[in-house]
Assembly symmetry: C2
Homo-oligomer: 299 residues x 2
C-alpha cells in the first residue's frame, strides 16, 4: 500500500504509547515528527524541567505530561532518552523498576559506548536498549526550536549489541525510518572512534583556535575564513563538554594524531620544503573535494 | 561636488594610466571596480599568461593589453602587482628599469613583510612602493570570476614604511577608497603576525583535519560541522603554499601555540577535569560570540 499523499513519511511502527524522557530540541522534534508521519500512539513527555515539558505540550510535540516515569513506561512500548549525556546514568536507574518485556528503549546521545555501558550496568534487560545517534541538530535549543522535519533526510546511526533483542532493534529502526532518516549500523566503539575524528576533534580544533586568538590576537584581520573554521566553538559548552568527556579516550587519541600532523606541517615550513607543502595541501584539498562531491546515499 | 547618483563610489584619484601586473581575480576586479567608480584613467593589463590578460580585456577589466611592461609603466602613475607571492621578486626586477618619480607601486599580496623585503632589495626607490592587502577574494579564480564590487565594504590593510613617500601612501589610500574599502594601517610585521593567527593558522588547521580523516577515517559520520571547519582546506594549494611559506616564521609560532592549546585540552580530558573543560569551552564561545557580534566599523 502506498503511503497517503499528505504523509510522505509513513509511520512504520505501532505503539500505543511512547515516553519521551527529555523534551528539548531533539525529544520534542521526535514527537512532532512522529505526528507528522501519521503515527497514532499517545506521546507522553517526562522531564526534569517542568517548563520545558509544558512547552513541548503547548507546541504539540507531546499529548500529555507526566511526572510519574514508571507509570508512563508501564503503558509504553517505546522509551526515547533525550537528555544530556551526563544524565543517562540517573535515567537508566529510574527506568529499571519499570522495565517490562514490551518496552524498547533507545536514545539520541552523541556518544554511544558510555551509554551502552550505563545501560548494561543499570538495566535489568539491557538487550532491550538499542542506542541511536540521529545526526541532526540546530544551534538553537529547547522545545520551541523543535521541528517535525529536523531529522528528515539525515543519517541516523544505530548501535545494536551482539545480544540485542531483535524486536527492540526492529522497533528502533522503524522509529527513525518513520522520521525519514537514513539508517547506518555500527558498533558503539566504531561510532565513537569515527565521531572523535570528524565531529569531536573539529569541535576541539575550533575551540582551541579561539584560545590562540584570545591569547595572541589577530582580530584586525580576522575574516570569513576564521568565522567558518571556528563556527563550532559557539556550540553549547555544557553539552560539548559532556560529549567530549563521554568520548574522551577516542578524542585524546584524535587530538594526538592532529598534533602530529600539525608538527609535520611545522617541520615542512621550517625546513623550507615547498614541494612537500604543496603536496600536503593538494592531498587535503583532493580528499575534501572528493568527500564533498561524493554520491549522496538515496533515501 | 556630490558624486553622480549612479556612482555610489567615487574615483578618488586622477591617474592618466594604471598598469595592472597580473589580471587574475583580484587584478581584474580592481580594473572593473575602478571603472564602476568612474575613474577615467586608461587601464593596461600585463601578465605572463596571455590568455588571462586577453580575458581581462574581453570582460572590460582593462582597456588595453601590453607585452611591454616598461613602456606601460613609463606612462603610468600607478602600478598594481597582483601575481602570486612567489612571483614578486621577478616582477620587482622587471619594474626597476622603468621606475620613475611619478610612479606609485602597490600590490595585493596576502603576506607583507616578504613583499616589503623584495621591494627594498630590488627597487631603486622602494619608498614609492606601499604594500596593500585588500581582504577580499572568492573560491573562484581568474578574470572571468572578477567583480566590480569584490572589494566593496571589505577591509584593506596598507603597510607604509617609516620612509614611505607621502604621495605614494596617499595614492594607494585613494585607490582602495575608490573601491569602497575600509582602510587599516599597520606595519608589515604586525600584519603578518596577525594574519598568521587568524588566517594562515585556520587554513593549516583545516588542512590538517583532512589529513587526520584521510589517515584514520570517520567518513560515515562526517557532517556539516566537519564540512564547515574544513572549508579552507579546499583553497588553491599553490597559492596557500606560497602564502604559508612567505609567512612561515609567524605561522610556525602560531602552530606552536595551537599545539600547546590542544595539549592543554588533552591534559584536561585525561585528568577528568570536567570543570576546567567547561570553563575552557565557555571562554572559547564567549570570545567568539563577542567577536561575531562586535559593532562593525562604519564605512
Amino acid at each position: 500500500m502506498l503511503p497517503p499523499m499528505n504523509h510522505p513519511r509513513q509511520c512504520q511502527f505501532a505503539a500505543t504509547q511512547i515516553t519521551l524522557i527529555g523534551t528539548g530540541l531533539l525529544g520534542a522534534s521526535v514527537g512532532l515528527g512522529l505526528k507528522a508521519a501519521g503515527c497514532t500512539g499517545r506521546i507522553v513527555g517526562v522531564g526534569r524541567r517542568r517548563a520545558s515539558v509544558e512547552r513541548a505540550l503547548q507546541c504539540g510535540a507531546v499529548d500529555a505530561v507526566s511526572e510519574d516515569l514508571a507509570a508512563s513506561l508501564a503503558d509504553s512500548s517505546l522509551a526515547l532518552i533525550a537528555v544530556p549525556l551526563s544524565g543517562f546514568a540517573a535515567v537508566f536507574e529510574q527506568i529499571r523498576p519499570a522495565e517490562h518485556e514490551g518496552l524498547t528503549i533507545t536514545d539520541v546521545g552523541s556518544a554511544k559506548q558510555c551509554v551502552a555501558d550505563h545501560a548494561r550496568k543499570h538495566l535489568a534487560a539491557p538487550q532491550r536498549f538499542v542506542g541511536s545517534h540521529p545526526m541532526a541538530g540546530s544551534e538553537q535549543q529547547g522545545p520551541d526550536a523543535a521541528q517535525a522535519d529536523l531529522f528528515a533526510g539525515k543519517p541516523c546511526i544505530i548501535c545494536p549489541e551482539p545480544d540485542s533483542d531483535p524486536h527492540a532493534v526492529s522497533q528502533v529502526k522503524k522509529l527513525w525510518q518513520s522520521l525519514d532518516m537514513h539508517l547506518m549500523e555500527m558498533s558503539s566503539a566504531e561510532h565513537d572512534r569515527q565521531t572523535a575524528l570528524t565531529s569531536h576533534l573539529p569541535h576541539a580544533a575550533a575551540a582551541m583556535l579561539m584560545q590562540v586568538a584570545d591569547q595572541h590576537g589577530g582580530w584586525d584581520v580576522a575574516s570569513t575564513g576564521f568565522r567558518d573554521t571556528t563556527r563550532l566553538a559557539s556550540s553549547n559548552p555544557p553539552m560539548r563538554s559532556d560529549i567530549m568527556f563521554a568520548n574522551r579516550e577516542h578524542l585524546v587519541e584524535a587530538i594526538s594524531s592532529y598534533r602530529q600532523q600539525l608538527e609535520a606541517l611545522s617541520d615542512i615550513l621550517q625546513r623550507n620544503d615547498e614541494e612537500a607543502l604543496r603536496q600536503l595541501l593538494t592531498k587535503s584539498k583532493t580528499v575534501r573535494d572528493n568527500w564533498i562531491s561524493r554520491p549522496k546515499e538515496s533515501p
